[in-house]
Point group: D3
Chain length 288, copies 6
């Protein structure tokens, strides 16, 4: 069943801007010389976009925009929604119209779909691995430059939740802030008073001693960095529901279930966005 209702559309003008930039990379000033040379200018065709492996779909708004920016007369029939599970061979969309233009838009459409679906699919694996626990799978700011909006959307399509979109959304005091400021108290002394009433505060700790120290401040979330499950369990007990507990560091599909079993509220995984493989999605022509 589709999760589409939970996924709000992204601002269309930003999606089109991002798609136009990608088309600009691919077409330059010359355009699709191969299609011009091999296919008659007025030939029509119909193609299908399909999945060649199992996964979760994300990026349909971008794919649709790629065809539409190239030729607004192309017809794009959407058969799957962002968030849908895909099996190998599933048809995601049919696109028909001018044959040259279909092929001109193909690569950019597939590059977005493959990249975003790859992220959604990896996220879904993590989400499945922690099913039955209270833990949510969250992304990080370790995103591919220029694609943060698209990648964070893909995490949601895969069932994850979004952490900060940028440095201004919320306060997250990390190890380097603490080290440079000269310790937790030096770093936190004015944070709570000045963070702003609409901005949450999270602090990273590496040890239970640090945890005890930060719990004295009126913060919202503690980032428990690189702690093994047994220490995480103690941390969760110390926290005792007063703030949210987020685990991070060294999280992979092999370790995430044990981390989730410690009772943490969130597990953030940089690999969702910085190390997902593409989902293999292709475009095929089937003579009608």
């Amino acid at each position: 069943m589709s999760k589409q209702n939970n996924l709000a559309l992204l601002p269309e003008y930003e999606v089109r801007q991002s798609v136009s930039n990608a088309l600009g990379e691919d077409l330059g000033m010359v355009g699709d010389i191969t299609s011009q040379l091999t296919i008659p200018a007025d030939m029509e065709a119909s193609v299908v976009i399909n999945s060649r492996e199992n996964g979760v779909l994300a990026g349909m708004q971008y794919a649709r925009a790629a065809f539409d920016v190239i030729d607004s007369s192309l017809e794009f029939e959407q058969l799957k929604q962002d968030g849908d599970a895909l099996g190998a061979g599933d048809i995601i969309a049919r696109v028909s119209g001018n044959a040259r233009n279909l092929l001109t838009a193909e690569r950019v459409a597939l590059n977005f779909l493959g990249h975003m679906s790859g992220i959604a699919s990896k996220t879904a694996l993590f989400v499945k691995a922690v099913a039955g626990t209270r833990a949510k799978i969250a992304d990080t700011r370790k995103t591919t430059p220029g694609l943060r909006m698209a990648e964070k959307f893909a995490v949601k399509a895969g069932g994850g939740v979004n952490h900060r979109f940028g440095l201004g959304d919320a306060v997250l005091v990390k190890d380097n802030h603490i080290a440079i400021a000269g310790g937790i108290d030096a770093a936190l002394k004015t944070v709570v008073a000045n963070a702003g009433h609409m901005r949450k505060i999270e602090v990273e700790v590496d040890t239970l001693e640090q945890l005890e120290q930060v719990l004295a401040y009126g913060i919202d979330t503690v980032l428990l960095d690189n702690m093994p499950p047994e220490i995480l369990k103690k941390a969760v007990a110390m926290i005792d529901g007063r703030v949210l507990a987020e685990a991070s560091g060294g999280v992979n599909l092999g370790s995430v279930a044990a981390i989730a079993a410690t009772g943490v509220d969130l597990i953030s995984v940089g690999a969702l966005t910085h190390s997902s493989a593409t989902l293999d999605i292709g475009l095929d022509f089937h003579r009608g």
Copy 2:
């Protein structure tokens, strides 16, 4: 030893544009609220950027630009060059100056370095796997939207070669062109005459029958798609040096040596750019 001399710098104004876009994603209108709240405005610091795993470095021009765009008074001392092999713990650069600004630029600098070094590192593994054969490892147009220039640079840093940068660089007649045009002859009939005297021509074939057919045309390269090594070997024999032979499809680190052993000239690998994991590169503050 550094490969720097073989890697021309990218156009600096494009690098800065790309870096500024990424900074814009991260800073928004608010900027780095955490550093503002935790670190005195006039504190100075010195940090190191170091590798936490083995790999090949790429992206230093972007990393340097990230710090420079945020604060042109930061000093960036570059200790490794793009193309250098990295071991875990190797220091890549030292950056010093205003402490807030160092941390503000950190994530964007690391996102570029990790992404590009991940591609360079994966490329280097493929290059190493085919050492001793004539095969070169090439990228594809399956790049992350908006990052084609950076990713193709990273492939070169890893020892690979670049395929087309965009649709206009060269002619590459693929399966869908042939299918829509109605066969190889229909597709190729005017290509050689009209491709332009400064543009090379490559044609994709799936079978040896198709190969025979395309060799009748004055093309430059044949793309042998998804052929097992024994068929590739026959194809190379049929081609007999008249055109370049490029293998693609289903190429991974397990299969690439066998493919290279067939005598093909090029092996193109979409996974270099669409599925590389980040290289783990971090930024640390060391007091004193």
Copy 3:
């Protein structure tokens, strides 16, 4: 005494972009034809920027950028800092160099300074009016299109605090959301669970009945809209410190002290940004 240390600089590349747009409006393709016709090309001059009325300064980063974009050889000596109180006649900066270029940059520099200082000055009046209470003066999203970053900075320069920078920073459920959703419960039923762990939640209420209803949800702040002081006082009592209390609606310099006296934590004032008069700041040439 200067408040400069509390005001982090804005991202310089965004400031320059904003200044360049404004210079583009003013110079077009022709440039400053009057200075070209009246002043020799190589004449040097020195000018002062000064205040012609009392107020609070904001916008020096923009003013400096205006001169620098026009002619990077102009010398800009900054005598006052953002957040400084200004008296009529106070000299804010001296700028010297090519006389034509000084005059070419003048209007854009003054337009930023006057607009931003006007906001800072009005904010400071509100802040002063609530001195001695717990209330902070906050801005809103009722900003001048295109200038949100600059205007929110000016509010901080005047001693105020910033509310949301945009729709994505935090959740703020307003009357129209409640009306369209079909009531408070319909609107809030999934908000707390899905807002995201790094995003605060505020809800607007018009009556004490609504207030009671929303206090049942785990939100962070209540926006008490258009309530007279006596009702606000009751609301503050009902809230009893469980969430923050923000008053808004009908706030002006005549009413704000009474509102602050009710014990609310925040008072948001749209007029700071949508209705501030410019602060009269000029540029004078003094021979010799």
Copy 4:
């Protein structure tokens, strides 16, 4: 009665660019999280935009564009035109369609309408105050950075006339030009010959002596700066219709009638654009 016929539409692509920038400020990468969390994705609604105080309308092209850029399927029914007088409670437009999208566009649409209508309304008050005289009310280059086109349009909507749009439109020799050049003769000696045959020339004077001096040059307009009405009357007499007489400096609603009564042709008022309060325009949902 509507003045719409006298107000040419602004270039639509520039209006949309300006609106998109403002939407970008407000939506960022996250979009309208509150509407997404509180309102079902497929809910439809109808809202009205109405005035909460008396004034003159300006900015409908921007408001319409804000809704259209967010969702081109929203229906925007325009009931009032730019230049129309508004009473408190007047309905300006009805907008209907997807409920989330209506609310997402609301703030940007209202920020343009309020800002531009505020300028139009203040302009109309000045125009009314000089009714029956020959004086026209003109704007200046003291506009809000980035909004000059919109603000000068609003001045026309309020019945005023536009002064220069930028430094290249016409020559306006001001006090600083004269001071730096070394006097009126030094400043003006080559202006008339070189200004260009399609460019008018205006010169600012502070005294009747200066006025006499500049009348010897073939200029078009004299800017009489900061002169009290009795001096202005003498200046008008001296000018005797040979050039246009423009008064400026210290003009407010209390002084403008007396200034107009002196017989000047134009009165320029910086406050129209640099110090207008917003006009209170809101958006309401009415069920049913």
Copy 5:
């Protein structure tokens, strides 16, 4: 007869961007003040775009876009296609709709049409002059800044072929490369191995001695620079079909036939793009 089928449309979003920039130059913030002052806002008109001299048409996509960007309700009836021969008086298009908007778009539409048709027309003269030989007429990178895509399209519309679009398309080793590198062997030693398998290689030579030297390398084309026909003939004989022969330098309508008669494959002519006169195309209103 139309050559339209051989001319692929340019990417529409790039055409519109280019047209919008040109409209921005012409309209600024004020727009078409003359049409606003002389023509009623609701007047409709119909105009024709016609040629006032013989030539070849190019630029219709730009002309259509100019009217469409200004007012998408204007009807544009295209009577001639890019590549069509034009006689004096031929009607190229009829445009009808709002009269003000027709005139507002006129100049930008005509500037593109005149410039591009001028190039197409000059190209066609060169193409005609070499008819019956094997020589094709090619453009160069000596294009008007910002208009390379449009100008190279116009060359094709005139029957010419395109040389490199940019520095990255192909390798072209010119005299300065050879001089700086220290001779042909120094310059070429690594070119063939490293140019990339999808990139052709051309080398410029000034003498038959140099020609002999470069023929030893596996290059694709030789650029025979500034050689008189008798030398060109010897060069063609020496080349003997092994590589393509391109002549350049001092080519004009008087000399081109003799150059073509030498048997060269290509003749490149910088003047096509850097020195074509506009084709005189106008817009007329015919009542009724």
Copy 6:
């Protein structure tokens, strides 16, 4: 002798934007592959930019920017100024530094110099042809799209004067306005009252009857379109100095002296910008 003092510099940030766009066309994502392949990365060189024919120089600010944007460490020694007369062989500038970067910037620098100097040179020929008359040579809005600022600067460098920069600068009522409005009186009836006090008014006439009619309005200039010299002489007599007389239409180097001899004040020549040939300017390497 240099005319540099009369030529104000163009806004540098706009020049760099224009140059960056042109570099983007030429370099794409690949950059200057030929220089990378033929010239060692660290080789230094010194080149001269010189003229190969007689003419007038324009565009040095663009040329300098092209080298500076590519590599800010290149040294650019300027030996000639915009407006200087050039003889064949004259050295305009010396540039030295990294050899690859010198060649990478070459084409864009020369394209600007050749185009702008071509316009300046043609303008200078017209100016010389009318020497001794009162006529000035003016440009038109028939400029190359995207280059209006540069081209109008070049006209000034050649000794000409600028007509309108855009549609908003001044009113110019042309034949189509008159035809569509329904005659001169219909077109002009509200123009003088509403043009704005800082905007001049010009009207085009084709006959002496029309001239008589327009002289009844308080306009500034009459555009005498396509009139032979004997009619122009009568027109000048009729005008008798009351307004400026501008001749246009069918102006070329053969006819311009006779036109100027009629006593008109201005002669506008579209061909200055729409049909100038490039001035042949090149870049040479001379081994030191």
